[in-house]
C-alpha cells in the first residue's frame, strides 16, 4: 500500500462521516463486548481458582498407601528447589490425636510445619484473628471454632495426646480462621519438630506441600517429578482432585469463546456490508481514478485501507470501553462482604490478541468490496455520467 490509496481512503472516510461513525461504533461495541466478556470470564476463573487453591498445596508428595510418614530426604528438597517451577515448598508432619482441657476431650489434627515456609502457602498470618504464629517450642495455634467451644484463649495451655498415650502441654499463641469449618474445628498448627517429638517420629515427614507459579501445569509438572521422588512415594496434584471444577471452567471458556466469535462475526458482516455500499457510492470516483490511470491493486487498497483504519481506531476505542466496563464492574458489583464479585483483571496478551484479530477481521471484511472495486470498468462511469 502506498500513500495514494491511504490518502484517498482517509478522505473517503472523512467525507462520509455518518457512515464512518456507524462502522466505528459497530467495531467499538463489538471489541468492547469481546474484551468485557473475555476479561470478565478470565477474572472470574482466576478468582475461582485462587479461592480454591490459592491457599493450599498444588502438588503434594506423600507416602504410599496407608503409611503415615516417610524418611525426610534433604536431597529431594534441594532438587525440587533447584527446579525453579516450585515457587513455595513446605514440609509437614501431621497426625491425629486429642486435646484435653478442663476434663473435656476434643479430636485434634496436629499439623507440624516449618512455620515460615508454610505461612507462604497457607497465609496463616493473614488468617489470625488473635495472637501470633507459634514461634517457640510447644506453642500452638488453634482454630476459632475450637477455641470457642473449649473456651480457650491466647496464653492458655492444654494437653495434646497421641493415640499411644504420650502427651505434651502446649501454649496457645494464636487463634486462626481459615474459612473452612472442619479446619477451624480440628487443626492445631505447631512447629514441625514439636509434632515429630509428640509422635516419636524424629526426622520423618508426612508430606511435602508445593505451590507452583503456573497452576494449570500442575498435572504435567507432577508427572515429571514422579521420577524424582522414587518408588516409595506418591505425588498428587490439585487438578486430579478438582476435576469437576476444571470441567466447569472449560465449559465457561468455551461459551465465552463462542460469544466472542459471534460478536466478531456480526461486526465483520456489518463492516463488509457498509463498505460494499460505499463501493457503489464511490463508483463514480473510482471510474475517474481509473480513467486517470490508478491501478486495480491501488484501487482495491483504498477499501482495504478503509477497513484497516476503521479496525485500528475501532479496536482502540473498543478496548478502552471494554476495560472501562470491566473496571466499573469490579467497582460497582460487589459481594456482600464488599470485595468485588469479579476482580478487575487485565490480561495484556488477551487484549492485544483481541485488537489484532479485530484489525485483521476489519481488513478482511473490506476484501470483498475491494475486489468489487477492482472489477469496476471506468468506461461504464464515463459513459453514463
Amino acid at each position: 500500500m502506498n500513500q495514494l490509496s491511504f490518502r484517498i481512503a482517509w478522505r473517503f472516510l472523512k467525507s462520509s462521516k455518518g457512515q464512518t461513525l456507524l462502522i466505528l461504533l459497530g467495531i467499538t461495541i463489538g471489541v468492547s463486548v469481546q474484551i468485557f466478556i473475555g476479561s470478565l470470564i478470565d477474572g472470574l476463573q482466576k478468582s475461582l481458582v485462587d479461592n480454591t487453591i490459592g491457599r493450599s498445596s498444588h502438588i503434594t508428595v506423600e507416602p504410599l498407601g496407608r503409611e503415615a510418614d516417610f524418611e525426610r530426604n534433604e536431597d529431594l528438597i534441594v532438587k525440587l528447589q533447584d527446579d525453579g517451577r516450585a515457587a513455595k515448598i513446605a514440609e509437614s508432619y501431621s497426625n491425629s490425636g486429642f486435646m484435653v482441657h478442663d476434663d473435656d476431650t476434643w479430636p485434634l489434627v496436629m499439623r507440624g510445619f516449618e512455620i515460615e515456609d508454610a505461612d507462604m502457602i497457607y497465609r496463616f498470618s493473614e488468617s489470625l484473628t488473635e495472637g501470633a504464629l507459634p514461634q517457640n517450642q510447644y506453642e500452638v495455634m488453634i482454630g476459632a471454632t475450637l477455641a470457642d467451644e473449649a473456651l480457650l484463649d491466647i496464653g492458655d495451655t492444654f494437653l495434646a495426646i497421641n493415640p499411644e498415650g504420650n502427651s505434651q502441654e502446649f501454649k496457645i499463641s494464636g487463634i486462626f480462621d481459615l474459612q473452612v469449618a472442619s479446619i477451624n474445628q480440628t487443626w492445631a498448627i505447631m512447629q514441625i519438630e514439636d509434632a515429630q517429638v509428640l509422635f516419636s517420629a524424629e526426622d520423618r515427614v508426612s508430606a511435602i506441600e508445593i505451590q507452583i507459579e503456573d497452576v494449570f501445569a500442575a498435572d504435567t509438572i507432577a508427572a515429571e517429578w514422579k521420577t524424582l521422588i522414587g518408588e516409595e512415594l506418591q505425588i498428587t496434584n490439585w487438578k486430579d482432585q478438582n476435576a469437576s471444577l476444571l470441567s466447569g471452567l472449560s465449559g465457561q471458556s468455551a461459551s465465552s469463546y463462542m460469544i466472542q466469535v459471534f460478536v466478531l462475526l456480526a461486526v465483520l458482516l456489518g463492516i463488509s456490508s457498509v463498505l460494499a455500499i460505499s463501493v457503489v457510492q464511490k463508483s463514480r470516483q473510482l471510474g475517474i481514478l481509473k480513467a486517470m490511470g490508478i491501478k486495480d491493486r491501488a484501487a482495491s487498497w483504498i477499501f482495504l485501507a478503509q477497513g484497516l483504519i476503521l479496525g485500528i481506531i475501532g479496536s482502540i476505542l473498543g478496548t478502552g470501553l471494554g476495560l472501562l466496563l470491566n473496571w466499573s464492574f469490579s467497582i460497582f458489583v460487589k459481594n456482600p462482604d464488599g470485595t468485588p464479585l469479579v476482580p478487575f483483571y487485565f490480561d495484556p496478551v488477551f487484549v492485544v490478541l483481541s485488537m489484532v484479530i479485530a484489525i485483521i477481521a476489519a481488513t478482511l471484511a473490506a476484501f470483498i468490496p475491494a475486489r468489487k472495486s477492482s472489477k469496476l470498468n471506468p468506461i461504464e462511469v464515463i459513459k453514463n455520467g
Binding site: 495514494l4 473517503f12 467525507s15 470516483q285 481509473k290 480513467a291 490511470g293 490508478i294 486495480d296 464515463i382
Partner: protein, 228 residues
C-alpha cells in the same frame, strides 16, 4: 512531423445478439503537437472513437498505436500506466473528485503516478492553477465551484503529468458561450506553450474552425477531414 497516434481499421460493434456497428474501418493518424477538432451529429460515434483512442474502451477489431506501440496487446496495468502518463482527459461532465480540493484534484494524476507528491509537482500544480485562473479558489472543495471553474480544474488536472495527448469530449458542452470561448482560448494557448497534441470533440462550429484540422464523423465513418 511524426505521427504520435495512429488508428488502423477500427471497428466497434455493440451488443451480443442484436449487433449495432458504431464505427466502420476508421483509419486515422494524428501529428504530434497538432490541435484537432472532431465534429459530427449526436450518436455518430465520436465519443466511442475517443474512448477507444484513450484506451478506456477496446475496439472490436483494429488497433491503436501510440508512439508507434500497439495498445491492443497491453495488459490492464500497462494501459493504466499509459493513460496516467501519456493521456490527459477532459470530459464534458468535469468528473472531479468531490471529496478533494481543487489543488488535490489537480495533483491526483501525479499522486497516482508516483504514489506521493513532491515539491516539484506541487509547484507545477500551483502554476497550472494560476494558468487556468483558479488561484483564489485552489483550496475549495471541487463541489464548491461553478461549472466553468470545475472545467478549468479538469484542464489543469489533465496537464499535470505533461501528457503528450490531451483528449476532450465536449469539454465545454454544458457551459455558456462566453465561458466556452475563454476555455478554448486557454486550450489553444496551452497547445502553443507546452506542445501537447489536442483532440477535442465539439459541436460548436466556430470553435472547430480555430483548430489546425477538422474531422467530421458521420454514421461511424470519416465524412470530412480538412487540415488548414
Amino acid at each position: 512531423m511524426a505521427d504520435l497516434l495512429k488508428l488502423n481499421k477500427i471497428n466497434k460493434i455493440y451488443g451480443e445478439k442484436i449487433k449495432t456497428q458504431v464505427l466502420f474501418d476508421i483509419d486515422l493518424s494524428f501529428e504530434a503537437q497538432s490541435f484537432n477538432a472532431i465534429i459530427g451529429e449526436s450518436g455518430s460515434g465520436k465519443s466511442t472513437l475517443m474512448n477507444i483512442i484513450g484506451t478506456l474502451d477496446k475496439p472490436t477489431s483494429g488497433e491503436v498505436l501510440i508512439d508507434g506501440i500497439s495498445t491492443s496487446s497491453m495488459k490492464k496495468e500497462q494501459l493504466a500506466e499509459l493513460r496516467n502518463q501519456t493521456i490527459g482527459f477532459i470530459f464534458q461532465f468535469h468528473y472531479l473528485l468531490p471529496e478533494f480540493t481543487v489543488l488535490e484534484n489537480v495533483l491526483m494524476p501525479a499522486l497516482i503516478k508516483n504514489g506521493r507528491v513532491g515539491e516539484a509537482e506541487r509547484k507545477r500544480a500551483l502554476e497550472l492553477i494560476d494558468l487556468v485562473g483558479l488561484t483564489r479558489v485552489k483550496n475549495n472543495l471541487a463541489t464548491d465551484l461553478s461549472g466553468g471553474q470545475q472545467q478549468r480544474t479538469a484542464i489543469a488536472r489533465s496537464l499535470i503529468n505533461e501528457p503528450k495527448i490531451i483528449l476532450g469530449d465536449e469539454p465545454t458542452g454544458n457551459l455558456d458561450s462566453q465561458t466556452t470561448e475563454s476555455i478554448y482560448a486557454l486550450l489553444r494557448e496551452i497547445n502553443h506553450d507546452i506542445k501537447s497534441t489536442f483532440i477535442i470533440i465539439t459541436h460548436d462550429q466556430r470553435i472547430a474552425e480555430k483548430a489546425d484540422r477538422i474531422l467530421e464523423i458521420k454514421d461511424g465513418r470519416i465524412n470530412m477531414d480538412v487540415t488548414k
